[in-house]
Amino acid sequence: MHIIAHEGTVAARPKARSRWWRDAAGIALIAACGAAGFWLFPDNLALLTRIVAVALLVLSIDLIVGYCGVATLGQAALFGAGAYAAGIACVNGVTEPMTLIAIGAAAGAVAGLLMGAIMLRAHGLAQLVLSIAIVQLFHEAANKASAYTGGSDGLAGLMVSPLFGLFEFDLWGRTAYLMGLALLLLVFIALKFVVASPFGMLCRGIKQDPIRIRAMGAFVFPVLLKMFVISGAVAGMGGALAAISTQVVGLDSVSFELSANALVMLVLGGLGTLYGALVGTVIFMGFEHVVSAFNPFHWMTMVGALLIAVVLAAPGGLSSLMEKVSASKGRSS
């Protein structure tokens, strides 16, 4: 019995190494796809930058829904908080882009703290309704505070100074896209560490059975609140990136529709894997761009049908479907 136990210990090392290699390869793949987008669609960089910003939002939802099991339909409140904070700072003379991103992250984190503190008081349906009410409240507040936010006209005229004092934000959006891509990669790597940490494992445990976690002597509320703050920072960076790249912040950045769409993207891609969040965002927004230009109602029908199909037939999302396909191929070869 004890001999086998020692074999188990020895086996630990190679597995950890292969995991590390897989992550490195995944990140390289994301970087390669991003670079390919840059070369293949030079006329659509604004869209690609938007995709990157929304990908940050979807990643932030994954942290809460996929890793902690807290359902939310109000995540755009955090995205919007970041966007407006960066926008207002920019209009008031803080124009350095990395500072603006940091401001967005901070504002998102604070909003996440607030949202978590309210949402985590409730469970199930009440929690979901609170998330919706919070994003709607943010929306109305942003609309009302038009002196700062521009109200329904949006906050326009953001003049961002060159990145590191060197790279102008050009008309084609090259600087904005490359900055966004770099930001996304950094955030992705950071989140890989977060979900692979003891804290990340604790969250996965809470998602499955909070009572068991309490019986292990761990408090649930502060852990979830911490994740809300992290998630808020990520969403806030997404909002700030959107503000910097489009030089406008509109009320749609803090809306139920954006929250719901982002959740749909996550579910299409696959909950609880960071890759799923990226895959879902790219596929959803790519198709939206093509089909929606043709007929927005066809687009809704298509997304709706796809969503029903995924929920009923492939609860793991498209990324798990791909994994299954590649796994079965690997077995047959």
Partner: protein, 305 residues
């Protein structure tokens, strides 16, 4: 809910004296609350009984609105026929959806239900607009409902009274159905303990299907008679999705009096807020929601689990 402004705008005169103002707000709030009630009570039933968070509930009200508009305006069949056809048509559409989609998510986690019904909502919006075109659909009121009625000390729009009466009839009818009929007994038993009722010979699948049809029929009725408050337009199902869900969870899923209280309270908060401070939009509505949900996590009269 954005449309609540529509019917308030024509009573702009704050000069009329405060009594008049208060009465106007009260009537509008009551009528608006009743519209919410007629639509939401169906959702409350679905959520309380089948434990399904049906975000597509508003989509059925929208389908009904489109059918009624088509029948009453385009075919010229009249308001009553419009309401009747809309209810029948919507229920007919809902039956296969219940059988093939909803039955598969009974008992699933909330997130699954939310996502599937959002998907269904998207499909309904896409398909309806493909067939009927992306324009605002009006449902012309008959002569009798479009004129003011003199109630002695002042006049009230007849349509308001009609809506309030509809709400009262729905509340009374449902109460009778649930408390006084054989079906009501089976329904309550199934709500309390589905497995036990099944064992006792209640055909719970049938109870579910009938309740679902009733819920959809009420959504249809509310969609049509409430079109003056919540106009039938391409994104109706999405625009009011949140409103309906919020109202039900504030009232407590499955409770008729709870839903009635929630609709009246939220109708009053919304109408008053818009009347007195229109620039705040839905701010007070959602502030009230957060407060209520924090204080009563199961809603006003929700069942403890």
């Amino acid at each position: 809910m954005a449309s609540a402004t529509l019917f308030i705008q024509f009573r702009t005169s704050k000069r009329k004296g405060s009594m008049q103002t208060i009465l106007s707000i009260a009537i509008d709030a009551l009528a608006f609350g009743m519209v919410l009630f007629i639509i939401c009570i169906g959702l409350s039933l679905t959520m309380g009984l089948m434990r399904v968070v049906n975000l597509a509930h508003g989509a059925f009200a929208m389908i009904a609105g489109y059918i009624a508009s088509y029948a009453a305006r385009d075919l010229g069949l009249g308001y009553a026929a419009g309401i009747f056809l809309a209810i029948i048509g919507t229920i007919v559409i809902s039956v296969p959806l219940e059988r093939f989609l909803y039955r598969r998510i009974y008992g699933s986690p909330e997130l699954t239900q939310v996502l599937m019904t959002i998907g269904l909502t998207f499909c309904v919006i896409g398909i309806t607009n493909y067939f009927f075109g992306p324009t605002l659909k009006t449902i012309p009121l008959p002569q009798a409902l479009s004129q003011p009625v003199d109630v002695g000390f002042r006049t009230i729009a007849a349509h308001r009274l009609f809506v309030i009466a509809c709400g009262a009839v729905v509340a009374g009818g449902l109460w009778y159905l649930i408390e006084r009929t054989d079906f009501g007994i089976k329904l309550r038993a199934t709500v309390d303990n589905a497995a036990m009722s099944d064992a006792l010979g209640v055909r719970t699948q049938v109870v579910y299907a009938i309740s679902f049809a009733i819920a959809i029929g009420l959504a249809a009725l509310g969609g049509v008679v409430g079109a003056e408050f919540l106009p039938i337009e391409p994104y109706y199902a999405l625009r009011y999705m949140v409103t309906f869900l919020v109202v039900v969870s504030v009232g407590g899923a499955g409770s008729i009096p709870g839903a009635l209280i929630a609709c009246l309270v939220l109708g009053l908060v919304d109408t008053t807020g818009r009347y007195l401070m229109p620039e705040f939009g839905n701010f007070f509505f959602y502030a009230a929601v957060i407060l209520i949900v924090c204080l009563f996590p199961r809603g006003f009269l929700g069942r403890a689990q």
